[in-house]
Symmetry: C2
Subunit: 237 residues, 2 copies
Amino acid sequence: MHNDDLVALSKIPLFAGLSLAQLEELTQAGFVHALPTGATLFEQGEMPGFLHVILRGAVAVVGTAPADQAADAPAHREAIITVFGANDALIAPAVLLTLPYMMSARVIEAARIAFLPAQAIRDLLANHAGFAQESALMLARHWRLLVRELKDLKLRSVSQRLAGYLLSLAPAAQTAPAQVALPFDRRVLASWLGTTPENLSRSIAQLGGLGVAIRGRKVHIADPDLLHRFSREDNLR
Amino acid sequence: MHNDDLVALSKIPLFAGLSLAQLEELTQAGFVHALPTGATLFEQGEMPGFLHVILRGAVAVVGTAPADQAADAPAHREAIITVFGANDALIAPAVLLTLPYMMSARVIEAARIAFLPAQAIRDLLANHAGFAQESALMLARHWRLLVRELKDLKLRSVSQRLAGYLLSLAPAAQTAPAQVALPFDRRVLASWLGTTPENLSRSIAQLGGLGVAIRGRKVHIADPDLLHRFSREDNLR
DNA sequence: CGAAATAATTGACCCAGATCAAACACGGTC
DNA sequence: GACCGTGTTTGATCTGGGTCAATTATTTCG
């Protein structure tokens, strides 16, 4: 494993408590891969072999509906459950519990990813108090992310979710007009927001009436405050 | 705190690693309340003061949409995000991270609940390796529960979710007809499944065609296997 | 550069599930 | 047993968002 990668890992809170020796032992049997958009890290149902840590890029975690084996096969559906970015560890729960993945993971933005052996991670959890503590805190944060998605899905419309998402891209600019860039293509964005590309288009058009102009991946938000009120977002993260 | 309660707590994996002395210290500043259906444990937005552990009964965790302050107030919506039962610890993430609750908690089945001071829990996380490890494992399990709900919501119909829920009530009876009882009233069930009571009724009627008879809270499943195929559930928990 | 492939938008239509409203079905209580 | 309130079902209608299909950008690449 390259030294830069080791340094990057050591800066992630989850591993910050490890001594250099421990970190080197952990990465001994691990490796780093650069993966292009579209690459699959693992499939739903597989047993986890590694904890994946994203050093750069982004990975979507997608759930796939059990295929219908009826004669009129209806194109197996799938949905992005959540997206992980740089410095995130990918699906620790399956790794820690030694249970099969409930979802598949696909690279959606060219990524550099560390593969750390699952057993070594489990050993760390059992033997390293600091690691266990950081694991708990990380999992707690991840839990809250999912809760937010669940609340969004049950309580807000597609347009509201889109509005909220656009605001989340803008760095805290509450009143001044903001200019942001969409990090993903429409298909990914749609699936993440829990809708279809067609509908996303319509929602984008709808937000035009609230001072949002989107051309390509460039987004101009004329009045963040107005948008925020429309999105009906609670501030709870 | 009553001694029976102490014993009950000590049997929960999360606290199993504590010595008797540590457990007593933890419960020193805590207490146990018996709460009727409808009681509220905490509200969305509040800062957590306690970790709640359910000794008996059940608690629903509900997200509420920010009220619309427009003139035509549209009855503030809310949705059950998940339900916790006996031996579950309620929303450790907010407690561990010292962040406001993202949801409210309401008793939906007469409950006996231990209130453990949040700060004591955080201290345990920092100082007790076994507790930190068990916390991580518990949070990992909870994460997978939410993932399942998210997948269900995005990929399956109300009837399919209902079918899956009914099967989850029946203890592993894969082939033989099964008789189960709904633990909650229709309103709660509907909200949990992500629908309305009216629609739940219709879904119930629909399942009649698959050998499911529901009268009151008694459910008779004539052919669990048929129901299972209809529900299109993957076995991933 | 221009053709082919891919991505995004637009339009027409459909459907699962929500909403509104009314009719029932009960368990309690007196 | 009659009364009342709550919980449940049924019916009619509406609608957000999905699906299908055709069109119009964008890329990608020879």
